[in-house]
């Protein structure tokens, strides 16, 4: 087909699609393909938000909750009457975090997004955009195909060409003209779809426009070519993980799971279809109030709340399924609990100055004037794809590839560690929560106080050890079987009450008398004694910071394994660290867990791991 014919065909297709939405369901009787139209008969399965479920709903909302909501409604109605007043501003934050009553969401959301003002400032704009879209939009086919599959289990959208489906189509088409840099990007149908559950067509359009271009939300940068805001926020997300949940980050890296895979919808559609809808609305309430910081904090909160469960999953498939599917069906925590934790996370991140990755750089902001019509070029009219990547796309491509490379490299560096030992064999690494972050923030202090020098390294002579040779297997197998269900916090290598105190064995370090050898914080490594093994005296006391400098090739290089710790005995650095020395990379050693985050680093040519 020549170009002219292709242009004509594209125009005809657009016209045809538009016509069907204009005529609507009532006027398309007999013209809707059966496959396009589901049959939902059971209205009693519709929940309070309008979603239709496969099975009868478990239970109606508890009467107490209904009462609370009725009481809240009264307060909110009062507050709405004096929206601009200082008392409202004062109360708004607390009340929104408690949840906007569903019946008033429509009003409050419009207020938060200042929909009325934007609409008044742009009279007739929406209809102008819609008219232009009908003539010019190049995204009609994609929008049509996405409207046909967005929220089809919701009563508003279940019927093909229903009123709301038509509204959704119109809003997206109009927006594709209004913001020609974004046009339409998959994901936006989810945003507009939620807005339309509460607003009429034109209000939803302006709400969508605000979400994309207002600097508080700045979603424009998410949807444009190359997704610059996405990569920037993912980078920040990685930073947060590295700081607060390094074990989890390691776990993800180990299974090759990039955040882009599990968190894309968190950023693009603010958790729609990733958490239960009731919770999603609560997050939206807060997002509309506080802006993009909320997404960052919620991403962190989700992982924080589910870290234990995720750490038990030893397959990318299982992890992704858990985060994307399981949490959507059942989040496992009451909405109020999640919001409470979200608020704590926001404070926590703020303290660490990690609540916000900074204002958007120029490439994330609209360059063209919004609402100014630009005629699409021939290629996009025909629907032909660009032959080559644009610069923004090349950059996106390079960034995502780099992310994976970096994760792989980080992983190689970190590979050799107890995390491996424990999680590979027991699947419960991290149950012990070495990560400083925790659900209610209390673990952190606990971990801090428990970072004691109680690591107890005992060296036994082989004859005295009564541990059978296959004990390791036994233990790891035992924990394999026992940890899947209870999550009791016992680490994979089971607790062994070794007879250390009764045997007169060479002790690497006597543990401080104030701490019972069997106290919770004690970590033991029992190694049968070998006379040729390096003893602590072979080792040069080094502090970690000077480590690289003072441990050089010229110095004595140990030929075998030796352990030493450093809690104050002679010739030891006094930094309460445990160091394990091995002769070569092949001699891999366990990481000694002293109750804090352990990040082993292998130093090439020295055969030495440092744990900090």
């Amino acid at each position: 087909m020549n170009e002219e014919a292709l242009l004509v065909r594209a125009a005809e297709e657009r016209e045809r699609i538009f016509q069907r939405y204009e005529r609507g369901r009532e006027n398309l009787v007999g013209q809707i393909d059966p496959w396009e139209d589901p049959e939902f008969e059971d209205y009693h399965k519709t929940d309070r938000y309008g979603f239709i479920h496969d099975e009868r709903l478990p239970q109606k909302t508890a009467p107490q909750k209904v009462n609370v909501e009725v009481e809240r409604e009264k307060k909110w109605v009062k507050m709405l009457a004096s929206w601009g007043s200082p008392t409202t501003k004062e109360k708004l934050h607390r009340r929104i975090y408690k949840g906007i009553p569903n019946s008033l969401r429509i009003k409050i959301w419009c207020k938060l997004l200042d929909v009325n003002r934007t609409k008044m400032e742009n009279p007739g704009k929406y209809h102008e955009m819609l008219r232009l879209a009908k003539q010019w939009s190049t995204d009609v086919r994609q929008i049509d195909s996405d409207v046909n599959r967005q929220f089809r289990e919701h009563q508003f959208y279940r019927e093909r060409y229903s009123e709301k489906q038509c509204s959704l189509f119109n809003v997206l088409c109009a927006y594709s003209i209004y913001n020609s840099e974004v046009g339409y990007c998959q994901g936006m149908s989810g945003l507009a779809g939620v807005l339309l559950m509460y607003m009429d067509e034109e209000d939803a359009f302006w709400a969508l426009a605000t979400l994309l271009s207002d600097k508080k939300y700045a979603m424009h940068g998410l949807y444009i070519e190359g997704f610059p805001k996405l990569t920037r926020f993912l980078q920040h997300h990685d930073k947060i993980l590295t700081k607060f949940m390094p074990k989890l980050k390691y776990h993800f890296d180990k299974y090759g799971l990039d955040a882009i895979l599990y968190s894309l919808k968190w950023y693009f559609v603010c958790f729609v279809e990733r958490v239960p809808f009731s919770l999603c609305l609560r997050v939206w309430d807060i997002y509309l109030l506080d802006g993009e910081r909320v997404i960052t904090a919620m991403a962190y909160t989700i992982l924080k709340l589910h870290k234990k469960a995720i750490m038990k999953l030893n397959d990318m498939d299982l992890i992704v399924n858990y985060i994307q599917v399981k949490l959507h069906k059942d989040f496992g925590y009451d909405d109020d609990v999640v919001i409470y934790n979200l608020e704590r996370s926001m404070e926590e991140l703020k303290r660490a100055k990690l609540d916000y990755p900074g204002p958007p750089p120029p490439n994330e902001l609209p360059k063209r004037e919004l609402g100014a019509f630009v005629e699409p070029d021939k290629k996009s009219k025909i629907g032909q794809r660009a032959e080559n990547f644009s610069d923004a796309e090349k950059q996106a491509r390079a960034t995502v590839i780099l992310r994976r490379e970096k994760a792989a490299l980080d992983l190689q560096e970190l590979r050799v560690s107890q995390s491996d030992t424990v999680s590979e064999h027991s699947g419960v690494a991290g149950v012990r929560c070495e990560d400083s972050a925790s659900v209610l923030g209390s673990r952190r202090s606990l971990a801090d106080t428990s970072v004691t020098s109680t690591a107890d390294l005992s060296v036994f002579s082989s004859g005295r050890s009564h541990v059978p040779d296959n004990s390791l297997d036994t233990h790891s197998n035992m924990s394999d079987d026992g940890t899947g269900s209870d999550g009791s916090g016992v680490c994979g290598l089971s607790i062994q009450r070794a007879p250390s105190t009764t045997l007169s064995t060479p002790r690497a370090t006597p543990h401080p008398p104030s701490v019972s050898p069997m106290s919770e914080d004690v970590v033991r490594i029992h190694v049968t004694y070998n006379p040729i093994a390096g003893s602590p005296s072979h080792l040069h006391p080094v502090t970690p910071t000077k480590f690289n400098k003072c441990y050089t090739e010229e110095q004595h290089k140990p030929t075998s394994l030796g352990f030493y710790t450093s809690n104050g005995s002679a010739n030891m650095p006094t930094d309460n660290r445990i160091r394990i020395q091995v002769a070569s990379e092949e001699l891999l050693t366990p990481v000694v867990d002293s109750g804090r985050i352990i990040t082993p680093r292998y130093v090439e040519s020295h055969g030495f791991y440092d744990f900090k």
Binding site: Y255, I260, R415, T421, R524, E586, L587
Partner: protein, 256 residues
């Protein structure tokens, strides 16, 4: 990267099953049924209103072929052009690809050809590519002739089938055909597909075929550890200690 392991080294004498792991990517225009094909293959389900894939989705499915267990790691990508820039991240290192088009839409077939071209240019040279003409249940609305697609596939050395995620026609078959075409002998998998992956300028070769993937549990304890970081668990430690002269070792740790 291909990861082939055999159970022959197993100390406990478990049955000797070879486990092969392959990365497979689905590409194609939006709404041709990529996610539906995967859903049918992995879960045996079909949804008329499969939600649109944003970014990419990941699923796995395991097939048993003779003496081999083949585990597919399936990357299902978004079809919209905007997401195209993310696609290389998914097809990088893939041993197999299914390029999907919709038989009722000629444009999607043209788009499929472009994907094939891109794969031939950018992906691993030994990648196995299959072309799937989906929605064959809608043959009444057919716009792409079977023979036309078959001829194109033959020219380009592609596997080709018409499939229907809705009726399940040829869905398992196309995955099986791919599994059969992939090298499954111990050296073949690693060297043929993954090992032969071209390295871009400045790219660091990975030290091991499975360095960014954990092996399945059954296989994880079969390696002695040399060169395979993920095989280094407690057993690796024990053998390390043995080498160092320790005859017995026990690691004891207690929860905090």
């Amino acid at each position: 990267m291909a990861t082939n392991r055999t159970g022959s080294q197993r100390a406990n004498g478990a049955p000797q099953t070879k486990v092969c792991q392959f990365k497979l990517v689905l590409l194609g225009e939006s709404a041709v049924g990529k996610s539906s094909l995967v859903l049918r293959f992995v879960k045996g389900q079909f949804h008329e209103y499969q939600e649109s894939t944003i970014g990419a989705a990941f699923l796995t499915q395991t097939l048993c072929l003779d003496d081999t267990t083949v585990k597919f790691e399936i990357w299902d990508t978004a079809g919209q052009e905007r997401y195209h820039s993310l696609a290389p991240m998914y097809y990088r290192g893939a041993q197999a690809a299914i390029v999907v088009y919709d038989i009722t839409n000629q444009d999607t077939f043209g788009r499929a050809k472009n994907w094939v071209k891109e794969l031939q240019r950018q992906a691993s040279p030994s990648i196995v590519i299959a072309l799937a003409g989906n929605k064959s249940d809608l043959a009444a609305k057919r716009m792409v002739e079977f023979d036309e697609a078959q001829a194109y596939a033959d020219e380009n050395g592609l596997l080709f089938m018409e499939t229907s995620a809705k009726t399940a026609m040829n869905v398992n078959d196309i995955f099986l055909a791919i599994a059969n075409k992939l090298p499954r002998n111990e050296t073949g998998g690693a060297a043929g597909a993954g090992g032969a992956r071209r390295l871009a300028d400045g790219e660091q070769p990975r030290s091991s075929a499975c360095c960014n993937r954990a092996p399945p549990r059954a296989a994880s304890d079969t390696r002695s550890g040399a060169g395979d970081a993920s095989g280094r668990g407690v057993r690796g430690l024990r053998s390390s200690l043995r080498k160092a002269g320790f005859t017995r070792a026990l690691v004891v740790s207690q929860a905090v």
